[in-house]
């Protein structure tokens, strides 16, 4: 189901062709990183810290080096020293620890051997001596006055007055309306203040990190790996090694899920260093256990929000105090939390303070709309509470306060055309909104917001001799973006979408392209494709003019062919294939590039409606119906837009109900497997009805907004509000597991209340 503003009618954009890389993926032939093998390759294994916080006093690799099959052993000493203050210091010392390990699973050495078993045995033989330090495992511990300090150099940025002593707080971010908060709250008829806690969660991509690196005697290296951005793999790896970027070529493998977790690197510099030392290609593949312990969790939080509302439902004041743990290093959690917490609603008086804190757990990585699902959890459940308290319909409350074009964002600028109200209305008008509920069921409504970003992208369009086109871009295809690129190219060139071959080019085959993050691939790389195609059309018109003996101004490009519009009688139109066939005689190969820094990423809004059924005797919550609207701007390939929405919902539901990192008292992760880190399985979910709202982004030639991230923002509060509706219990700590739900129901008097 699609809600559409009037827009141009397109021949290809908005259709649902089979994706171009689909055949390889349903036949098992697609090559993901772990599927690649190089002649003579060795196998690399990482040595990891068993301690959450320790000083490395010595590493003895001599025994490991002498073992059968072992060709190279490396430690932090094999990499250039890096000092705090270096732009990528955190990334560098996270990939391989130097003097200190900061979490259980922190890499500190690596071994390459002829077989994986030999490498594993040798890794176990690397002797490391530690001075174990007290571990800081929670926000409260990190902020305690006598807390052990993780980084001696960490002075709080944004502290007022400026920090004089190191602490576990890398950043404090403050935003405010600059108005009198006391007066703002004084205008309110209802003031509520609530606290929330959430635990780190993992992106949970099914493909563990993997790469192969081959360093030649000429000092150049080639890396095959899966990532969300191979140019970033190149530059980050080069930074760690102290090399020039251009000594490294990165060839992207298919990527088996990322969700933000593959925007950074872990293995590649180790594989390159091992390969350089051994003079052989080195393959490294993480186990699932390593993925959980040493990569990507999204931050845990403590959030406190105070809202002031007038009796008619007008929000008048908001005060937010947000704390994000980004694991052992600084991260953007607090800033992004601060930028999203009040962004969806008109709140004239607001004050936001956000802290990042470091603790002895794995360094957090981006996860789909980073930080926003948690601020939405707090804000949207509080709005639900406000609606209940004031006797206002939850939908009406949101419609009354929703931001629209021209309203100021938290950052001060006025929003361009956005589709929040349209998303709310789409859900309000959906049959689900008024459908009756069954026994023990409850319904929850929640909204979500995400910025989306632009950044740099490149594309090359090559027309082939037969009139087909190859479109090369630098964005890895993490969920169907090849098909989107082909659709936009087809629309521009007037060539059938199946006559377009979309290709992800390596770092030496296409222009620089930033990481696929911030839902930017279809938006920004799509713009580069459109730019290249438009240049190509100019070129095609020129070639056709030559063939027709006409002036280029007399030739239009219509539906894949050059059409003569001049007054010199009739001339047959020239289809693209005819022009391609004569390319050699009209000026040579037909190729065009587009490369740009994309401006005008359009914010995305989403509104979700969730029904749950709660077993009040066991606390078990089942999601029984789900509807999700989202403003896509324009859906280039609606199936994959729906897929992004549905995937975001599933991840959000998992986050709401069961997913969490569990550590023991020493900071050792207790659930590093898919058995006990419980991502949703097929039987946990109903069908997810995705409503695509299309309020075109004025900054994109086809109106595209990013769609990859916003869908994960509303599910947590939607589920929480549904649980409240079913049970009368407000649960303000994640996950809302059976244990926690039953505790709440028991405390509330024992049975389904509402």
């Amino acid at each position: 189901m699609t809600v559409t503003e009037p827009k141009p009618s397109y021949k290809y954009v908005g259709t649902r062709p089979v994706r171009h890389d689909g055949l390889e993926k349903v036949t098992g032939r697609a090559r993901f990183a772990a599927d690649l093998n190089m002649s003579g390759q060795l196998h690399g294994i990482v040595v990891r810290s068993p301690h959450a916080h320790a000083r490395i006093t010595s590493i003895d690799t001599s025994e490991a080096e002498a073992m059968a099959g072992v060709k190279a052993v490396i430690t932090g000493d094999d990499f250039p020293a890096v000092e705090p203050g270096h732009r990528q210091y955190d990334m560098c010392v996270n990939v391989i620890a130097r003097d200190k390990v900061l979490y259980e699973g922190h890499a500190l050495a690596a071994v390459a051997a002829s077989t994986r078993d030999q490498a594993q045995a040798a890794a176990a033989a690397v002797k490391v001596e530690y001075e174990v330090l007290p571990a800081v495992l929670t926000i409260d511990q990190a902020l305690a006055p006598d807390a052990p300090v993780l980084h001696a150099h960490m002075m709080t940025a944004g502290a007022d007055p400026p920090a004089e002593e190191p602490s576990n707080i890398p950043n404090i971010t403050r935003f405010s309306s600059g108005t009198d908060m006391d007066a703002g709250f004084a205008e309110a008829d209802l003031v509520i203040e609530r606290e929330f806690t959430t635990q780190p969660v993992h992106q949970g991509y099914i493909e563990p990190h993997a790469c192969v690196a081959d360093t030649g005697q000429d000092g150049h290296t080639t890396i095959w790996c899966s990532s969300q951005g191979h140019f970033n793999v190149r530059s980050s790896t080069a930074t760690l090694l102290g090399w020039e970027n251009t000594r490294i070529r990165v060839i992207p493998a298919e990527i088996g899920g990322g969700f933000g977790g593959k925007t950074t690197i872990y293995l590649e510099p180790l594989a390159v260093a091992l390969s350089a030392k051994a003079g052989r290609p080195v393959k490294m593949v993480m186990t699932r256990d390593e993925v959980f312990r040493a990569t990507g969790p999204a931050p845990g939080t403590k959030l406190r929000i105070k809202l002031g509302v007038q009796s008619d439902g007008n929000l008048v004041a908001g005060d937010a105090y947000l704390i994000y743990t980004n694991g052992a290093y600084a991260g953007p959690g607090g800033l992004l939390g601060a930028m999203t917490v009040f962004e969806s609603y008109k709140i004239p008086n607001f004050e936001i303070e956000a802290l990042d804190v470091v603790i002895n757990t794995a360094r957090s990585a981006a996860y789909r709309a980073p930080a926003a699902p948690l601020t939405a959890y707090a804000m949207e459940t509080m709005l639900d509470e406000v609606a209940t308290e004031l006797g206002i319909d939850a939908m009406d409350l949101r419609l009354r306060n929703a931001v629209a074009e021209g309203d100021p964002s938290t950052m001060g600028f006025p929003f361009a055309r956005i589709g929040f109200v349209e998303c709310l209305e789409a859900v309000r008008d959906h049959p689900h909104f008024t459908a009756p509920l069954g026994p023990n069921q409850g319904r929850g409504l929640a909204a979500g917001y995400w910025f989306n970003i632009g950044e740099s992208s490149s594309a090359t369009v090559n027309l082939n001799e037969d009139g087909t086109a190859t479109v090369v871009t630098g964005s890895p295809d993490i969920g169907g973006s090849r098909a989107s690129m082909a659709l936009m190219a087809a629309e521009e060139l007037g060539i059938d979408v199946y006559d377009i071959r979309p290709v992800v080019g390596d770092t030496e085959a296409v222009g620089f392209t930033d990481v696929t993050e911030g839902s930017r691939a279809t938006f920004a790389t799509g713009m580069a494709v459109v730019e290249a195609c438009r240049k190509m059309v100019v070129e095609l018109r020129g070639r056709a003019a030559k063939m027709m003996g006409a002036d280029v101004d007399e030739v239009d490009w219509v539906d894949g062919q050059a059409v003569y519009t001049g007054s010199d009688g009739d001339k047959d139109p020239l289809p693209v294939a005819a022009i391609c066939a004569k390319a050699k005689r009209t000026g040579g190969p037909l190729t065009a590039t587009g490369s740009l820094e994309a401006h005008g990423a359009g914010p995305g809004f989403a509104v979700h409606l969730c029904d749950v059924e709660v077993d009040s005797e066991t606390g078990v919550v089942r999601v029984v119906r789900y509807t999700a609207s989202q403003d896509a701007g324009t859906a280039i390939h609606p199936s994959y837009v729906e897929g992004q929405i549905q995937g975001g919902v599933a991840q959000g539901v998992g986050w709401a109900l069961n997913e969490e990192y569990i550590y023991d008292s020493d900071g050792v992760m207790e659930n590093p497997s898919f058995l006990d880190y419980r991502v949703p399985v097929a039987s946990d979910l109903p069908m997810i009805d995705a409503i695509i709202v299309e309020v075109p982004n004025p900054a994109h030639p086809y109106g595209v907004r990013g769609v990859g991230e916003t869908g994960i923002v509303p599910p947590i509060p939607a589920v929480a509000n549904a649980i409240y509706n079913a049970t009368g219990c407000r649960i303000r700590d994640l996950p809302m597991s059976p244990v926690r739900v039953l505790e709440a129901i028991t405390a509330n008097g024992g049975s389904n209340g509402a």
Binding site: D117, V620, N671, D684, V739, L742
Partner: protein, 293 residues
């Protein structure tokens, strides 16, 4: 990992027992659904993995009319597909079907589930309420013990060196008898039981409970029988106060731990709920079954 291990696939019980006697670090397995992950997680590697699935007797289901014999390595997928077992022991068969995914069902077995001795295993409570017997082979003569006597603690069994479970024996239940099994998991599939409860009920001609057996999983080091609950049912209709007493007795009998999967308080409370519900389902089935056996 694992590469140094040898693999053996005996085709007779005697051959399997012989292998276990000759190799000090030999380890038997049927599905390996627990064993391979345990070794990957750092458990010491056996020298030989002895695969029991090529021994016909360990994978066969037969019935003598009054007794079912089920090979200890029989995949639970086969057990679930067996109409006779499903009719006679619906709860036990449901418990069998709950072990993991369809993929795991191809490999999981009663023998493996019991000998792995996880406190949270799904089938032992149901085997126990149905008075299943385990036939054990080893260096000495074959012996038969109650299934309840096999697991002695987390990861520990009463099996002697070189002994394996060969098969299980289950007597056809008497008239007006049925069982049920319920477990609590956070998701709908793929989880380890946070609490499991098995019940078997025999009704008399008046619909009152003639005998009952109730056993709980995941709330103690081994399966817990709940004699107080059983006593509360006998002579009463399985409803009202009697059911409430079952819940209370089950909660009281539970002796769980706090861990990553649940808390003491949660497991106690839910043990009572599941025991009560399992009794209700078993009793309903027993009523439906009437005089058939």
């Amino acid at each position: 990992m694992l590469s140094a291990m040898k693999y053996a696939s005996p085709t007779t019980v005697a051959e399997a027992v012989g292998l276990l006697g000759s190799e000090p670090d030999a380890r038997v397995y049927a599905g390996a659904t627990d064993l391979i992950p345990q070794i990957r997680a750092g458990r010491p590697e056996p020298s030989v993995m002895v695969d029991l699935k090529r021994i016909e007797r360990l994978c066969a289901i037969s019935s003598s009319g009054s007794t079912y014999t089920v090979g200890a390595a029989t995949p639970t997928a086969d057990i679930c597909a067996h109409a006779g077992l499903a009719a006679a022991f619906p709860g036990l068969v449901e418990a069998s079907g709950l072990i993991g995914s369809d993929q795991i069902q191809s490999r999981s077995s009663w023998g493996g589930n019991l000998a792995n001795a996880s406190p949270a295993a799904d089938t032992p409570p149901s085997l126990i309420v149905n008075d299943a017997r385990a036939v054990i082979a080893g260096p000495g003569a074959e012996r038969t013990v109650a299934a309840a006597d096999v697991a002695t603690g987390p990861g520990a069994t009463s099996l002697g060196p070189g002994e394996i479970i060969v098969e299980f024996e289950l007597d056809e239940p008497p008239a007006r008898t049925a069982d049920a099994y319920l477990r609590l998991i956070p998701r709908t599939e793929m989880d380890i039981a946070v609490v499991g409860a098995a019940a078997r009920v025999t009704l008399d001609g008046d619909g009152k409970v003639a005998s009952a057996a109730i056993a709980l999983g995941a709330v103690a080091p081994t399966v817990v029988r709940v004699p107080d609950a059983e006593a509360a049912l006998v002579g009463n209709e399985p409803a009202g106060d009697a059911l409430a007493a079952v819940g209370a007795a089950a909660a009281a009998a539970a002796n769980p731990i706090d861990d990553k999967r649940g808390t003491v308080a949660y497991r106690r409370q839910v043990a009572g709920v599941l025991a009560r519900r399992a009794v209700s389902i078993a009793a309903e089935r027993a009523r439906e079954r009437g005089g058939q056996s």
